[in-house]
Amino acid sequence: MLASILTALVFLTATTLILSLLLIIAEKWILNYGPCTIDVNNGQKVIDIQGGSSLLNSLSENEIFIPSACGGRGSCAYCKVKVTQGGGPLSPIEEPYLSEQEIKDNVRLSCQVKVREDIKIQIPDELFNARLFKAVTASKKMLTYDIMELGFDLVEPDEIEFTAGQYIQLESREYKGADSVIRAYSISSLPSEKKKIELIMRRVPEGICTTWAFDHLKEGQEVSLSGPYGDFKLQDTDAPAIFIAGGSGMAPIWSILRHMHEKNINKKSYYFFSGRIYDDLFFTDELFGLEKKLSDFKYVPCLTREPEHSSWKGERGRIPEILPRYIPDAQEYEAYLCGSSALIEACCSKLSELGLKDEKMYFDKFE
């Protein structure tokens, strides 16, 4: 009896051992995809890697930073890239985040694509410039009751190259049980001020990153950020421009307008900024000051709820109602919009009525 139990035990242990050994060998030989290459933008950069990791990680290990907010869980859908060869089949995790057109165009979530063979991908050129930065919080300044300007001095690397209108991704630190998260913020400083980054941030009720930045981040504290990202920028044309923003949407426009001044880019332009009351406005003196510095620029702050008896002499009402008075025919213009999706929608629809073509309306594609 004892002998047969012992034999069974030995048999079981031996089988388990052999199976584990087989698994280890299988992992080493079958799941080892060996050396693979990632060809970025038709040979613009070819990266040699050891297969097996996600495309997102393989790229970031080789200093190509694709924006991502969820750390590779396949749920933020920011890390889209075009995979033209070798991406394997589309996974069920990716499908809900891709439009029919994107699926046709071979767009994939790079965090869900495993590099198992040689891969060819297409990414926007500007992603080659994105870097990971260490920076020190230099200043926190309240601009309105819920909007703050944040300044960072870059430490490592200590300079950034970006185009006015682009954004960075800021990493918050853990606080009071909240995870460290990564969120996008448009750069409000000038491209020529290479050693610093300024942002304009609006507090979001119950927001993880904004609560951290407003209530926990201290001047002098080190932070991590990456970038620059995005293709929201002034087009290289002579067309007159309409800028439209509200709240923290000021950030990229503030950078673009001052860049225009610095680079002597003279084009007829209007800037419509939406606020409720006078206290929602900021950089007001500076923006009216730009009217004198830029050759044909007009700043039009529009207030929707400023008390009637106040001394406000500017426009009262919503931008879509005010636009036609300044621009009855928008055919020749280009429009640059930054703000809430509702503001963008309402203004784009009015601009269409005024003759502006859809392809001449620019805003960040993540809206």
């Binding site: 907010a69 969820c70 750390g71 749920s75 933020c76 859908a77 069920p92 995790i93 499908e95 809900p96 985040y97 049980g177 909240a178 995870d179 460290s180 998260v181 969120r183 996008a184 609006r202 979001v204 009720p205 119950e206 927001g207 993880i208 609560t211 509200g246 709240g247 939406s274 409720r276 929707t304 709820r305 919503r318 703000g339 809430s340 999706s341 509702a342 503001l343 309402a346 960040d364 993540f366 809206e367």
Partner: protein, 148 residues
């Protein structure tokens, strides 16, 4: 009872995470299924459907959104105000896509916040009957909406 792997993954997604600082369960000790079925019985008792609630929430959201941040009166004592936020938040239920982070804050005339409406919270009620756990800042009390 042992949880199925999908249930375990879902429970993890309902906790405070990189996407929702407060999570979806608040300090509610109940399981998500209990929250859903308790709220469903409340609706039944009140004689209204989940769809009625969803329609009201969508209407308030649309009305406030159209005002681009100006407060709109929704009852004698309540105003709704659209707060824009760029970016998207994924549904805690895997594979359901992401929703804009814009929100509508409903406030009493005395200024205290009564509840928030977000595109994600409307989706969770519409698709799953999930009003969120007690203590979640984004829970919408069915009785409260029914009373409006």
């Amino acid at each position: 009872m042992k949880q199925a792997p999908q249930d375990k993954r879902l429970m993890e997604c309902l906790r405070p995470s990189k996407f929702s600082g407060s999570g979806f369960m608040g300090d509610d000790p109940r399981e998500m299924e209990e929250v859903i079925s308790d709220d469903a019985s409340t609706l039944e008792k009140l004689g209204i459907t989940r769809q009625d609630i969803v329609s009201s929430l969508k209407l308030i959201f649309k009305k406030a959104e159209k005002e681009l941040g100006d407060p709109v009166t929704i009852t004698k004592d309540l105003t709704a105000e659209y707060i824009s936020c760029r970016g998207k938040i994924p549904s805690p239920f895997p594979g359901e896509g992401a929703f804009t982070k814009d929100m509508v804050q409903v406030t009493s005339n005395r200024g205290d916040v009564k509840f928030y409406i977000t595109p994600l919270s409307i989706h969770l009620i519409e698709k799953h009957g999930f009003f969120q756990g007690k203590g979640s800042p984004f829970r919408i009390e069915p009785e409260y909406i029914a009373g409006l």
